[in-house]
């Protein structure tokens, strides 16, 4: 969650929302996937038009293919974004979605606008995205949209119990420690866990009841502070 570039917009009641705005690289990758898909769809459409449509239609089969090709070429992005609330197949694969400028769901008109301008953006879009702090291409500016990373979340560590008197600083420190235990070597981990346990003995000795901070400092700390699920995982790791 912290790995994406974030930018602030004002949401409802002028409350700041940190939107994880997608950069040029991930957007180009999503567009490349979608482009491949459009080619495959056109090829499939060609097969349908030439093989599945009755021969009695004669030249009209080609006419139907030409019209279908035009619709696929011009309409794929707009239709898929409108029907999936801002997620084409490529965007879904890369974990992106189109949202309105305030973070809400973009309207069909906005999605249509941004996609009808795609051909101009093929020429100038990357340049504009690189210059804009919100990575907007021309279509985004006119449609009032942004492309953001999907918020997957849910994997960050949050404390289940907070010792009395601990401020946000101590809580954030403890959460950061639990989140990084797998990256630290064992000696470092145990050293830091003992430090936290000393704070706990000072601030909330009740939380350490039934634990053995001397023998298993990390397990004791996890049992004291983490909700059951993370506690079990931490105990297993230690």
């Amino acid at each position: 969650m912290e790995t994406t570039e974030r930018n602030v917009v004002l949401g409802l009641d002028n409350i700041r929302l940190d939107l994880p705005v997608a950069g040029v690289g991930s957007r180009v990758l999503a567009a490349a996937i979608d482009s491949v898909l459009v080619v495959l769809l056109v090829a499939g459409w060609a097969l349908i038009a030439l093989l599945a449509l009755p021969e009695t239609l004669g030249d009209w089969r080609i006419a139907i293919f030409v019209l279908g090709y035009f619709v696929l070429d011009q309409g794929y992005y707009a239709v898929s974004e409108i029907t999936t609330r801002g997620r084409t197949v490529g965007k879904r694969a890369v974990g992106l979605r189109v949202v309105a400028r305030d973070g809400g769901t973009a309207s069909p008109a906005s999605l249509l606008l941004r996609n009808l301008l795609r051909q101009v953006d093929i020429l100038v879009g990357v340049f504009l995205m690189a210059l804009d702090p919100l990575s907007r291409r021309l279509g985004d500016r006119l449609g009032g949209t942004l492309v953001v990373h999907e918020e997957t979340g849910g994997s960050e560590v949050t404390l289940g119990r907070i010792p009395p008197g601990w401020t946000a600083r101590e809580v954030a420190l403890a959460e950061a420690f639990f989140a990084r235990t797998e990256e630290l070597d064992l000696d470092q981990t145990l050293f830091i866990a003992r430090l936290f346990n000393r704070w706990l003995v000072r601030d909330a000795p009740d939380l350490l009841t039934g634990t053995e901070p001397g023998r298993d400092p990390l397990g004791a700390l996890g049992q004291a502070l983490l909700p059951h699920r993370e506690n079990a995982a931490s105990g297993a790791a230690s």
Binding site: M1, G11, L12, D13, I15, R16, L17, D18, L19, G58, D59, W60, I62, A63, I64, V66, L67, Y69, F70, Q74, R97, V99, A100, R101, D102, G103, G104, T105, S107, P108, A109, S110, L112, L113, L116, L117, Q119, V120, L138, R141, L142, G144, E151, G153, G154, E156, V157, T158, R161, I162, P163, P164, G165, W166, T167, A168, V171, A172, E175, A176
Partner: protein, 330 residues
């Protein structure tokens, strides 16, 4: 309030919003009106909790969870355009005509540029026929010298099905490109208008020179009147887009840009279906020698009048000054 107390007091609300959003995502129609109202209320409460947590407890997991919940709720529940259900009838009778009315000044500019460049092409063709014929190419000029228009190829060298689909997609592409050209500060739109005007003027001049103007007019009257009108309307929409990009007056750029872009989009969308009709006319009516010139003129005028009746709907004129909102609602 310390963090522990804050979490103790508010965690239930956050859990309820999370569960509600999950349900909304999985089975949106399973929520009653009251449940949706409750969800919206919880969303606003969580937004305020998020603002408080971001200020008082930065960097904590709770703040990150609230940020994520706020974003998720915003995406699921906020629609800045107050979207109503899309209605084709409303689009045809209100949204398009209102946007068209607001586009009339830009349409005047497009028409003036087109006529001006057309007269220039006609003048050049009259005084320097050799220069004007270079626009046509040697084969077409050779056809003219034999007393034959190149437009006859539409029926003699290409099956009607292919000709009509090709014409339709080409004209649709030209209209979209002309509109989209507004995003290049109007340069591409201007180019399309001037080129088309000059080209048509030069063609008229050359065919006049070879005494074939009547035949050309006979060919273009059935489809050309409306086709030119639609290209000019698409050009006007492009100019409107350019105007919004370059000058927003005293309003915030994002607001002015959004309104102008939507208006121009509605106008473009209202024009596109007509190109399909015109492609059929251009393939089956325009080149057909068995249909009289008068009948072709009647078809051309009828199409033009039908479009104008649709675009200049008097019911929509009264409210034309109000901006259209997204989603087709005016």
């Amino acid at each position: 309030m310390d963090l522990a107390r804050f979490i103790e007091l508010r965690r239930r609300l956050w859990d309820e919003l999370e569960a509600g959003l999950e349900r909304l995502q999985r089975r949106p129609k399973s929520l009653s009106h009251q449940e949706l109202e409750d969800l919206a209320l919880r969303y606003r409460q969580v937004l305020h909790d998020h603002a408080l947590a971001a200020a008082r407890f930065p960097g904590t997991g709770v703040t990150r969870r609230l940020a994520r919940l706020s974003l998720r709720g915003t995406h699921a529940l906020v629609r800045s355009d107050g979207r109503q259900r899309w209605s084709l009838w409303r689009f045809l009778t209100a949204t398009f005509p209102r946007a068209f009315h607001r586009l009339l000044p830009a349409l005047g500019v497009a028409l003036a540029l087109f006529v001006g460049s057309g007269l220039l092409g006609l003048f050049l063709a009259a005084v320097r026929p050799g220069l004007a014929t270079s626009f046509l190419g040697s084969e077409r000029v050779a056809d003219l010298e034999r007393g034959r228009l190149w437009t006859e190829d539409l029926t003699t060298t290409m099956p009607p099905a292919l000709a009509s689909s090709g014409i339709a997609t080409n004209n649709l592409g030209v209209a979209i490109t002309t509109w989209m050209g507004g995003a290049t500060a109007g340069a591409l739109t201007l180019y399309v208008v001037l080129l088309n005007g000059f080209h048509l003027g030069a063609l008229m001049g050359v065919t006049l020179h070879y005494s074939m103007a009547d035949e050309l007019l006979e060919f273009v009257t059935a489809h050309g009147i409306l086709e030119l009108s639609l290209i000019l309307v698409a050009s006007a929409a492009g100019f409107e887009l350019a105007r919004a990009l370059l000058g927003t007056g005293d309003r915030p750029r994002s607001v002015a840009l959004g309104e102008a872009a939507r208006d121009s989009l509605w106008v473009l969308l209202g024009c596109l279906p007509w190109f399909v009709v015109l492609a059929v006319v251009e393939t089956f009516v325009s080149p057909d020698p068995s249909i009289s010139h008068g009948a072709k003129l009647a078809v051309g005028m009828a199409l033009e009048l039908a479009f104008l009746a649709f675009a200049l709907n008097p019911a929509a004129r009264a409210t034309a000054t109000a901006p259209t909102t997204a989603g087709g609602e005016a």
